[in-house]
C-alpha cells in the first residue's frame, strides 16, 4: 500500500487559505463583535474593539428588546408549524411514491420541482398566488365556499358564518397580521416538502422487505405494519430529516424577505430578518448587536442538534 508521508502543502493550500480567511477568521471576529458596540463604519481594529467593548451588554439588551422577542416567538411558531406539517406530508408522499407503479418517477419529479426553485422565486411567486382577490388560493376557497353555501341553502338552512366568509372574501393572507405567517408557512411547505420526501424515500428503500413480509405472515394489517415495522426502522431517517428541517427553519430568511418583509406589524419578523436589518438594513447599523443575535441563533441550533443526538440514543432503533 503506497501512501505519501509528507505534508501535502500544494493540495491543501487553497482550502487552508479559504478556511483561515473566510471561516476561522470570521468566526472569531464574530464572537468578539458580539461584545462590542460597532456601527460598521469605523475601521475595525483592535483599538476599535477595545474602545467600544461593552461586555455582555448586547446580550442583555436582547432580553429586553420587544422586537427581538417577537422575532424569536415568530421563528419558533414558524418552525413549530411548518416542520411537522412538512414532515407528515412528506412521509405520506414517500410511502405512496415508494411503490413500483407506472409513472411514479414523473410524480416524484412534480413534487421536487419547487425544491430546485430559488427561495426568491418561491417568495415572489407566492405573493401573487396568495393575492386575496385574484390569487388561485382564494379563488379556490371562494369557489368551495360558494358551492357549500349553495348546498346548505338547498337543504333549507342558512350557511354558517365560516362558509359565508369564505364565499365572500376568504383570508387576507400576507396583508393580514393574523394570516401572514400562515401564508409564509404555506409557501415554505410547498417549496420544502419535495426534499423531505426524497430523504424519506432513501430511508424507505433501505428497509429490508423481509421484515414486512414476515409481519404480513404473522397477520399484521397495513396500519400495524406501518407503526410496528416501518416507522421504527425508519426512525433514524425521521430524526435526521426533522433535525435538518428545523435547522433550516430557524434560519428562514429569503422567503420572509420577499413575501412580507417581516410585516404587517412585525407579524412575520423572524430572527434572521432582524439580524439582517440590524447589521445591514437600517441606519445606524448595529453590527455588534446583530452578531449577538447570530450567536443566540447559533446556540439554539447547537442545543437542538445536541438534544436530537441525546434523544436519538434513547428512541432510535439501531439496526442489528
Amino acid at each position: 500500500m503506497r501512501i505519501y508521508h509528507r505534508f501535502p502543502l500544494l493540495f491543501l493550500l487553497p482550502s487552508l487559505a479559504g478556511f483561515l480567511a473566510f471561516n476561522l477568521g470570521p468566526i472569531l471576529t464574530s464572537l468578539l463583535l458580539s461584545f462590542v458596540d460597532y456601527d460598521g463604519l469605523r475601521p475595525l481594529t483592535l483599538m476599535t474593539l477595545q474602545e467600544n467593548w461593552v461586555g455582555l451588554e448586547n446580550y442583555r439588551r436582547l432580553l429586553e428588546d420587544p422586537v427581538f422577542r417577537k422575532a424569536f416567538w415568530n421563528t419558533l411558531f414558524y418552525v413549530g408549524v411548518a416542520v411537522p406539517l412538512e414532515m407528515v406530508l412528506a412521509l405520506l408522499l414517500a410511502l405512496g411514491l415508494n411503490r413500483p407503479w407506472r409513472g411514479v418517477k414523473v410524480l416524484r419529479t412534480l413534487y421536487l420541482l419547487p425544491t430546485v426553485t430559488s427561495v426568491v422565486a418561491v417568495g415572489l411567486l407566492w405573493r401573487w398566488v396568495l393575492n386575496p382577490t385574484v390569487g388561485p388560493v382564494n379563488l379556490f376557497l371562494r369557489f368551495v365556499g360558494e358551492k357549500l353555501s349553495a348546498l346548505w341553502r338547498l337543504l333549507g338552512a342558512e350557511p354558517p358564518a365560516l362558509l359565508a366568509w369564505l364565499a365572500r372574501e376568504g383570508p387576507g393572507w400576507l396583508s393580514d397580521p393574523n394570516w401572514a405567517m400562515w401564508g409564509v408557512i404555506l409557501a415554505s411547505v410547498w417549496a420544502g416538502v419535495g426534499l423531505r420526501m426524497l430523504i424519506f424515500l432513501a430511508g424507505l428503500q433501505n428497509i429490508n422487505r423481509e421484515y414486512l413480509e414476515a409481519a404480513s405472515l404473522d397477520g399484521a394489517n397495513g396500519l400495524q405494519r406501518f407503526f410496528y415495522v416501518v416507522l421504527p426502522l425508519l426512525s433514524p431517517t425521521v430524526f435526521l430529516n426533522a433535525l435538518l428541517a428545523m435547522i433550516g427553519g430557524f434560519q428562514v430568511f429569503g422567503l420572509v424577505y420577499t413575501m412580507t418583509g417581516g410585516g404587517p406589524l412585525d407579524s412575520t419578523n423572524v430572527l434572521m430578518l432582524y439580524l439582517y436589518r440590524k447589521a445591514f438594513g437600517t441606519f445606524p447599523f448595529e453590527m455588534g448587536y446583530a452578531s449577538a443575535i447570530a450567536w443566540v441563533l447559533f446556540l439554539i441550533l447547537f442545543a437542538l442538534t445536541y438534544l436530537q443526538w441525546a434523544l436519538r440514543r434513547r428512541w432510535v432503533l439501531e439496526e442489528a
Binding site: 501535502p8 500544494l10 422565486a121 411567486l125 401573487w128 430523504i199 429569503g254
Partner: protein
Amino acid sequence: MKKLLGKLWDALVYLLLLLGGLTMLVPFFWMVSTSFKAPGAVFDLPVEVWPRELHLENYQRVLTAVPFGRWYLNSLLVALGLTFLNLTSGAMAGYAFARFRFPGQGALFLLFLATLMIPVHVLIIPLFILMRNLGWVDTYYALILPGLFDAFAIFLMRQHFLQLPRELEEAAIVDGATPWQVYWKVALPLAAPALATLGTFTFLAGWNSFLWPLIVTHSLEMRPLTVGLAVFQNQFSTEWTVLMAGLTLGTLPPILVFLLAQRYFIQGLTLGSLKG
C-alpha cells in the same frame, strides 16, 4: 373481496398522489399564465385562467426595463465560478486527506468538519467587513471567493478517493509520476461521478443563493438574478405580469439543469441536505 379492496385502495392513493402533484404545479402554471396576460387586466374578475391573447410585451419589458441580461450573466458566472472553485479545492484537499499521512492530519480534518456546525449567518457580518476592507464589495471576488473552502466538498471527495482502488495510482508512481501527476492524470478522472454530483449541487446552490449576494452587491449591474428580482419587486410592485415574466425566465435554468441532470442532482440534494 380483500384483493378488490386492496386494488381500490391503491387506485385511491394513486389518484390522491396525482391530484397532489398537479396541485404542486398550480403556482408554476399561474406564474406562466400571468406572464402572458395583458398588464392592466390581471385584477379583472372573473379571472382568466389562461389568457386568450398572449401578451409578449411583458417579456420585452422585463428585458429592457432592468439589466435582466446582466443579472442572468452574473448568476451564471457566480454559479460556475463557485462550482469551479469548490470542485478544484475540494477535490485537492480530499485527495490530500485520502492519500497522504502527516502529523496532525486527524485534528485538521476534524477542525475542517467542525465548520459544518457553523451556520452561515455567524460568518456574514465579519465576512462583509473583510470584503469592504479588501475593496471587494460589489465585485465578483466577493461573490465567488468565499467558496474557496467547503468542508462538505472535502469530505465528499475524500470518501470517494478512499473508495478508489489504489493499483492504478501505484502503477503511475512506479512509472515515476509526481503526486500531482498521479492526482491530475489518474485519480481525478476516476472521480468524475463524484465531481458531477458535487458540481450539479453546487451550481444550483450558487444560482439560487440570496443572502450573501444581497449583502455584498450594491449596484444594479452586479446583482445576481435572485437579488435583482427581489429588488425589482419593490420597483415594479404593481406590474405583476412583468414580474412573472422575469420569474418565468429566472426559474427556467434551475429546472432545466434539474431535468437534465436529475440523477446527479437527486444524489447531490440528498447529500447536500446533510450539510445542514
